[in-house]
Subunit: 299 residues, 2 copies
């Protein structure tokens, strides 16, 4: 039993079983007729019984040969299909991809990348999941997602990450707010203002980052109110209870009840990175990152 036949040998038998003629079969196989004869002989020897009944003038399938043919007729096709399926995955044209995203990537960065990726790789099924930055780090570690759009920067020896955007932060104020007299705002202008921010549980990383930024400038944030969603937050701002700070990608979605002004300061930016495990060698990940990095700049 040590000598299992090759797929080519099985293929040879299938051809002979169809042609019932060694010379023609050998021709189809681009093989010498004697070699073909020997392949069949060896195959028969390896399984222990005759598959073909042959005289010098005629070749016929034995009953066992018929059964063997019927059972293995599609073996090669199946094998070829298994290769094609695997190849599509290897080339990143199939398989699946689980992508996590946080709020700031939800409006522009993630959708446009996913749209373009799906166009290029229609056979890859993409699963999207809203997870906040901290949760994404756990999800990545546990291999629950393949990629995460998170607030950056993020440096870690086990992960790769590329910075996809560094957006200007904007101050969001009620209409007719005093700050609007200036066309652009500096961080120090916000020192005395009441801030309305998302609460810690929901806006964790963003709050942390903002704190760091202001502290670096020697400014202590005065958070007067908290809300857990954007709509509530905007309502409070519009009502004149304070101001808030949002990255550029979101301000296009704000209503007309508030005004915005950019914060002019090289450090006051919101950075979004795309992160994945270094040990994740999936070709789909590579392909997606490629797409995400090279998105055409939005006017």
């Amino acid at each position: 039993m040590s000598n299992a036949p090759g797929l080519d040998t099985i293929h040879s038998f299938l051809i002979v079983a169809e042609e019932l003629n060694f010379r023609r079969s050998a021709e189809r196989l681009n093989l010498d007729q004697s070699a073909l004869t020997r392949r069949i002989q060896k195959l028969e020897h390896s399984i222990g019984f005759k598959l073909l009944e042959r005289t010098t003038r005629e070749v016929a399938l034995t009953q066992a040969g018929q059964s063997f043919y019927k059972d293995n007729a599609h073996l090669l096709t199946r094998y070829a299909e298994s290769i094609e399926g695997a190849r599509r995955i290897a080339e990143g044209k199939a398989g699946h991809l689980r992508i996590a995203y946080m709020a700031f990537a939800a409006t522009e960065l993630m959708p446009s990348a996913v749209a373009r990726f799906r166009q290029a790789h229609p056979h890859v099924d993409v699963a999207l999941q809203y997870i906040r930055t901290q949760g994404q780090k756990l999800a990545l570690a546990n291999d629950e997602v393949d990629l995460g759009y998170m607030i950056g920067p993020f440096e870690h020896p086990d992960y790769n990450s590329v910075m996809l955007s560094s957006e200007t932060l904007y101050v969001v104020t009620p209409l007719n707010h005093p700050l609007l007299r200036k066309f652009s705002i500096s961080p120090t202008d916000l020192a005395e203002q009441d801030l309305i921010l998302g609460d810690m549980r929901e806006w964790e990383e963003y709050r942390r980052r903002l704190n760091d930024l202001f502290n670096a400038e020697g400014i202590e944030l005065q958070v007067g109110l908290e809300a857990s969603n954007t709509l509530a937050l905007l309502g409070l701002v519009a009502a004149g209870l304070g101001i808030t700070v949002y990255p550029e990608s979101l301000i296009g979605f704000l209503g007309r009840s508030v005004e915005v002004r950019p914060i002019v300061h090289s450090q006051f930016r919101s950075r979004t990175v795309l992160t994945w495990k270094k040990s994740n060698h999936s070709e789909q990940v590579r392909a997606f990152v490629e797409v995400a990095k090279n998105l055409p700049a939005r006017h």
Copy 2:
């Protein structure tokens, strides 16, 4: 594409995919570890992409490798099963057999052979078909049946046949018939008797044979009446309208309303042969013939 892998190579990959360790896999395969490495390398080269991601310390399946594994996990099992199925047929332990029989084989010869054959080859399904001798010759020629129990002898260059029985012929008479005074009958005793036989359409070959036998003795048959089935025939005999001739195998089935006497003459016998096409190399046929030839003599 000319280098299709061997089944052993595929097997090797499956093992490695399970073990995720070349050394252990090589051990399971009774193969040097370097040879295993090369098999996998060659396999990957033949399909054009990597199946395994390996460092010197760890082996992991690529996504493509996972897909390839899943698709081919049962390839070897299926192949092994295809061999087993074919082997059973090759050994005559499976497959199918179509057997035709005529009346004289129906009571003893065919049933006992079939019974014994099915016991030895339970996986062969046997299809039985009542066909008269002439019809069997057509059925065999058209490959509609594999074997035929027919009235013999039958000689033909394209067919094999073995004689299974040569039975004494018996005269069947009404009770108290004059012929019963003799314990055994000679053919000439029948010269003046009224005979009742099966009609030509239903009893074709038997009638032909009987005619030949009597003619060879210079006796012209006087067929007084014809019937198309045995029961009607016996009824006519019992009613005293004539006598008839049956082979030994049937007289045990006759009722008590008639008497029988053997015909003592070396040529006056009914021969039953089992016939099959020489071109039919089915192992089941061979096996059945073997069984049929070597049936234990009945009592």
